[in-house]
């Protein structure tokens, strides 16, 4: 074959190979099975949990669902903006959804207070000072990322159960005698490092009567808080907004146990938060809140 014929033959061969390759590239390596092959789910037509259904053992969830319309402070927000897929991508026609959440996300719903949340004037836990640690994009010290995962013995002190009621009164202050009596009834003793969770029954109002839920609540007073803190809990929690009784019977005080716990003693708190709090008195105990 002369040179031209050789080149022509090579071009034809290359074109043939390219066409063959392109034809192969048009066939995807995987396709999504038809609806009939994947629906209904092996866990049932109404199932929304998927492989989560494989979990065994008893786990009791202690958090409320976050949603617009849950009890929340009038100074805060929880807004969800769903961003639906704009396109189906690939031969597998994949869509992708997400959402933008606008909220004081550390302080709404079932939440956990860190030490940066509360002060006595400009002083925080371990006497860190606001001007030294606060920036416009977060606290340089005492941030919640410093806490880490907490796993410990949990003790629920059921004050409502001890008193034989569904729910304690709107401004009932839980006393040391209440705590001792309830623990005796449960045949339990508090140990250092416990997560101490107090059942007031007030949580029944969540999403049922949000106005009443947030207006006031039963909870521990200063003497009960001091008694608990002396037992060295890892954290305190309750089924109300601020864990402590609100308003405090001493009208001069502003949510004192938050200070007692967080600022003074280094104990965090977890509640079902609705209300923002302001601080005035100080004490040297720290509490972790879980609301």
């Amino acid at each position: 074959m002369n040179r031209t014929g050789h080149i022509t033959g090579s071009i034809i061969l290359a074109a043939t190979l390219f066409a063959a390759t392109s034809a192969i590239a048009q066939t995807p390596s995987w396709t999504v099975p038809p609806d009939s092959a994947r629906c209904p789910s092996k866990w049932g037509a109404a199932d929304e949990r998927g492989a989560g259904n494989l979990m065994t053992g008893e786990v009791i969830e202690l958090s409320h669902v976050l949603h617009e319309g849950m009890p929340i402070s009038r100074t805060r927000r929880y807004e969800v903006f769903t961003k639906r897929t704009t396109d189906y991508l690939g031969t597998n026609r994949r869509g992708s959804n997400e959402e933008l959440v606008v909220s004081e996300i550390g302080q709404v719903g079932t939440q956990f207070d860190g030490f940066a949340h509360q002060t006595h004037e400009d002083s925080l836990y371990n006497c860190f000072k606001m001007d030294d640690i606060a920036t416009r994009t977060g606290f340089k010290k005492l941030g919640i990322e410093k806490v880490g995962a907490l796993v410990t013995r949990g003790v629920m002190i059921d004050i409502a159960g001890y008193k034989g009621v569904d729910m304690l009164g709107d401004t009932y202050e839980i006393t040391v005698a209440d705590l001792e009596g309830a623990l005796r009834r449960e045949n339990l003793t508090l140990q250092s490092g416990d997560a101490v969770i107090i059942h007031t029954g007030w949580g029944k109002l969540w999403d049922k009567d949000n106005v009443r839920y947030t207006k006031s609540n039963p909870g521990i007073g200063v003497p009960a808080a001091q008694w608990l803190i002396a037992k060295e809990p890892m954290l305190l929690g309750s089924d109300n907004t601020p864990v402590e009784v609100s308003p405090n019977p001493d009208k001069l005080l502003s949510t004192p146990i938050h200070q007692l716990a967080l600022v003074v003693n280094g104990v965090r708190t977890s509640c079902s938060r609705r209300r923002s709090t302001s601080w005035r008195s100080s004490s040297t105990a720290s509490i972790s809140w879980s609301t």
Binding site: G57, E58, V59, I60, E61, L62, S63, H64, L66, I105, G106, Q107, V108, G109, T110, Q111, F112, D113, G114, A116, H117, T137, G138, F139, K140, G143, I144, E145, V147, A149, L150, V151, T152, R153, G154, V155, M156, I157, D158, A160, G161, E186, L188, A195, I197, H199, G201, G203, K204, W206, L235, G237, S238, D239, S270, C271, S272, R273, S290, T291
Partner: protein, 37 residues
């Protein structure tokens, strides 16, 4: 927290797990704590 199930089942002692989100410099975190029996 949501304590109605613990109260209804009279569960007073349990393993408690709480894992605050790693929100750098934040004052708190939304959490979904659990009681394990």
């Amino acid at each position: 927290m949501k304590l109605d199930e613990l109260a209804a089942k009279t569960v007073y002692e349990f393993a408690f797990v709480i894992t605050p989100l790693k929100l750098e410099g934040a004052t708190g975190s939304t959490v979904a704590p659990i009681a394990i029996r």
